[in-house]
């Protein structure tokens, strides 16, 4: 199959959605002539014009709010927040408006919008351009939170998110934009809330999100040579979570390692651990549920410190090996 980068896959998804439905438009900072800080929207302005591709002022509250207003009045907006960190400036509109409008209004309307944003560290951009804030949104009923880990899912989940009648926080990862993978040319969807088994295995379940899926897969390759088979599970949509494949995997392996980049305290891993421990999968556990997460620190600038602050392949390999060997 043809291969595209993660960024190209996203762009193709946007282009197809905009071609298929004139209600779909994009807006954000530097997404026009510049093509977006990470190039995702490159060429869209030329193709669709400035009444479909809106270069906005640096106004994150109004980017989010305008998406809501447009969604409420018949459009299908796809907003871009240049770095996920900046979504902190949009929080009122997302948390108090987008997430609640349908419920507050008795289910009589909905807010079909997507807000894309790149999260994560690894680019040397330091503490204010490297955040992983997904759990802020996971904690808000009414929002959906999606984190694609590969080009195929990036396009398919984006198209599903655009179809979805709810506000979707769509979190991309900066280090994934240039990664390549097979991407069909047709306008396929990857359903939201569909957890994927990225690799089958029988010894340890590794539930990972976003780029950590890729790192877990690398660790799995290393450990396979040692006879340890990891089952790598990618939730893809953090909320609403399709939890059954995770529980089923833990029932099978009896061991669970949860990996994400965001700091551990108050992080998504706690939610996953609680769901596993609170289900019948608990009876199958042969070891404590382990979490491997970002440290509880701002992301440092220095290259070595930055790497040390978030889980790397070697960390996952080491943790999974210990779990497999019963060293906890």
């Amino acid at each position: 199959m043809r291969e595209l980068t993660y960024a190209e896959a996203l762009r193709e998804g946007l282009r197809q959605a905009m071609s298929a439905d004139e209600r779909v438009f994009v807006m954000g900072e530097d997404i026009g002539v510049y093509g977006g800080a990470f190039g995702v929207t490159s060429g869209l302005l030329q193709e669709f014009g400035d009444m479909r591709v809106f270069d906005t002022p640096i106004s994150e509250a109004v980017i989010a709010g305008a998406c809501i207003g447009a969604a409420l009045s018949g459009m299908r907006p796809v907003g871009e927040i240049q770095f996920m960190d900046f979504v902190t400036l949009s929080m009122e509109q997302l948390v108090l408006q987008a997430a609640k409008i349908r419920y507050m209004f008795g289910g009589k309307t909905s807010v079909p919008m997507v807000l894309r944003m790149p999260g994560g560290s690894g680019t040397g951009a330091a503490a204010q351009h490297s955040e992983s804030l997904e759990n802020w949104f996971v904690h808000v009923p009414g929002l959906k939170v999606v984190m694609p880990s590969n080009p195929y899912d990036a396009k398919g989940l984006l198209l599903a998110a655009i179809d979805d009648p709810n506000p979707v926080i769509f979190i991309e990862h900066k280090l994934l934009y240039k990664t390549k993978g097979p991407v069909p040319e047709d306008m396929y969807r990857v359903p939201l809330s569909s957890t994927r088994i990225a690799r089958e295995g029988r010894h340890v379940t590794v539930v990972a999100t976003s780029i950590m899926v890729n790192r877990a897969l690398e660790a799995a390759t290393t450990l396979a040579a040692e006879g340890i088979e990891l089952e790598v599970v990618d939730p893809r949509t953090l909320t609403p979570l399709d939890e059954e494949p995770i529980l089923a995997s833990v029932r099978k392996t009896g061991k669970a390692l949860i990996v994400h980049e965001a700091p551990g305290t108050g992080g998504y891993g706690g939610e996953l651990a609680a769901r596993i421990a609170g289900s019948d999968a608990f009876d199958y556990l042969e070891a404590p549920i382990r979490r491997l997460t970002g440290l509880d620190t701002p992301i440092p600038y220095n290259r070595n410190l930055e790497r040390a602050a978030v889980p790397q392949v070697d960390d996952i390999t080491r943790e999974a090996r210990k779990l497999a060997r019963g060293e906890y």
Binding site: S73, M75, G142, P240
Partner: protein, 312 residues
């Protein structure tokens, strides 16, 4: 504008609704809080009277009046929502601060000061992309004009000439904060010049003045000339919400504004006698009393449905 008895009866209905709301709260028949717009009725009716069915409304937390004055408004559904009943506009999930009638493009009251402002720009974009001649009116208070969202929204609407009418309902106080202490401008409308759009201040207790200002703004928006900031200077007779001891203003000041009551003022425009006005007042009272009966006969929401509507 052409004078109309309908405008007077809508103002009277708003006044009666608010007084009933206050009474129901005092009697313990509703819970939560409310923000009463007694004294501000001319702004609510003046705005909607100058617009068309199909236009969009984004409203404030002090929004009972604007909702009642909006197209197709049903006072029974309003009262049922206020009383948290299933028959209410939002099936009892929204309450006083979140009443919406989306079928009539009333996109809801808002519990967040300035919360509707960013959304208004998006509605304006939508109108422009869909190439209709609708307008979006967003109502906000004097306090909201000090929020960052005010700046972001006006700037966006200005650069893209969006059909948004920004109506600042300046009732002088943001909760306890006197606008003269929180903004170093005489008129909020002066802030329009920062965005190179037209700003105008009118007497918000003069229905005709509000109507005419909104009508002109709507005409400019429909002609693609971009947004307008209309400041309506008015006054809330009651406290900010139910628990306000009003230590920040004097009885004399309240009394002075009560003498500028927009309702008898408009009755004079219509040439009504005191008896005729009193008769109209009684009619409005009956409508509100009937709405309470309607609401109280409506069932409470089903507890099993508490999760309904979180996601579509």
């Amino acid at each position: 504008m052409n004078p109309s008895a309908d405008y007077l009866s809508t103002m009277l209905r708003i006044r009666a609704f608010e007084e009933k709301a206050e009474e129901l709260y005092a009697l313990g028949r509703v819970h939560g809080t409310m923000h009463l717009s007694i004294g501000q009725e001319a702004t609510a009716v003046g705005v909607s009277s100058a617009l068309r069915e199909g236009d969009f409304l984004l409203n404030t937390h002090r929004g009972h009046g604007h909702c009642l004055a909006w197209f197709g408004s049903d006072v029974n559904l309003m009262m049922a929502e206020f009383m948290g009943r299933e028959a209410g506009y939002c099936r009892g999930r929204g309450g006083s601060m979140h009443i919406a009638n989306v079928e009539a493009n009333n996109l809801g009251a808002n519990g967040i000061v300035g919360g509707g402002l960013p959304m208004a720009a998006g509605v304006g974009m939508s109108i422009k992309m869909r190439k209709t001649d609708q307008v979006c009116v967003v109502i906000f208070g004097d306090g909201a004009s000090n929020e960052g969202a005010f700046h972001e929204s006006l700037n966006l609407s200005s650069i893209w000439k969006l059909p948004v009418i920004y109506v600042c309902e300046n009732n002088q106080y943001a909760m306890s904060m006197d606008i003269r202490k929180s903004a170093n401008v005489e008129d909020i409308s002066q802030r329009a010049c920062a965005y190179n759009i037209r700003g105008i201040t009118v007497d918000g207790n003069d229905l005709a003045a509000v109507h005419d200002a909104i009508a002109q703004a709507a005409a400019e928006c429909r002609a693609g000339q971009g947004p307008v900031l209309v400041e309506c200077k008015t006054y809330r007779w009651r406290g900010h919400s139910k628990s306000d001891r009003q230590l920040y203003r004097t009885r004399d000041e309240v009394g002075e504004w009560q003498r500028r009551d927009p309702i008898p003022r408009y009755a004079t425009v219509l040439g009504l006698t005191d008896d005729q006005l009193e008769a109209a007042r009684k009619d409005a009272q009956q409508v509100i009393d009937a709405a309470v009966v309607f609401a109280e006969n409506s069932p409470e929401p089903d507890l099993a449905a508490v999760m309904e509507g979180v996601y579509a």
